[in-house]
Amino acid sequence: MNKYILFLAQFFILFLFWYLLSGKNIVLLLLLGVIISMLITTYQQKLKILDDESLPIAILPRAIIYWVWLYKEILLSSIFVSKLILKFPLNVSPKYFKIKSNQKTAMGFNIYANSITMTPGTISVVTNNAEKEIQIHAISEETKLGLESGVMDEKIRKLMCDKDV
């Protein structure tokens, strides 16, 4: 991404945050917000910490589609785990296993591990970025199979596509 676009995006996000927390349309407050957001963004660019990894706006349009899919997945597996909890003779057979991911970038791997933890029924316990391997605790055989089918991994590869190829 162009560094001017990154600058503008970071400035806009910081100013939006300022406006949300104050919530008042007073000229002095808005002006102070503009000045402070500008100062912070300039300082970040001087420190060279403003890049594609700290502010991934390049993947934002695809990320929104991915979030909708992830939210649907969260609701479905919440219903599944709720049924498991409410079954009268409690019958859980948790599984602990390793899974290998096909991600190429560290950010894709990070998104994958966080998505696994966010979905009820699976928790990523230990991650290994060098081998791209995650140790996972799953609550039942079904959630384990759902993860091993690799649908989520493939979706995140699509999300990160411009960097992989």
């Binding site: 409690l90 990523s124 605790h137």
Partner: protein
């Protein structure tokens, strides 16, 4: 339109509260630390997000609803990192999950 949105927001609030209740029951019923974390993750994803979406529909599009969206995003990010940190701390402290013991018995 007003009636529809109020019914929809009430439905969301009720379903979200149900998920919170089920998560709380699961916290008591589950056998070990890791399976209890699964029950807690229902509460912090489905429960919290449905309640917040219900509140957003209730207030309409104002500054308050934008604040609620920021709160929802913060809950999603923080809860997944906290769950991972808790699970990793348990493993680091040599607390083996039930699933691991069964595999070593076989």
């Amino acid at each position: 339109m007003d009636i529809v949105s109020s019914y929809l927001s009430n439905l969301m609030l009720i379903v979200g509260s149900l998920f919170l209740l089920i998560g709380a029951i699961g916290l008591i019923r589950m056998p070990d630390v890791f399976t209890r974390m699964h029950a807690a993750s229902i509460m912090e994803t489905a429960g919290a997000s449905l309640i917040i979406i219900g509140l957003i529909i209730n207030t309409g599009f104002t500054v308050v609803s934008l604040k609620l969206i920021v709160i929802m995003l913060a809950i999603f990010y923080i809860s997944s990192v906290a769950t991972h940190a808790l699970a990793r701390a348990c493993i680091h402290d040599n607390l083996k999950p039930n699933a691991m013991n069964k595999e070593s018995d076989q």
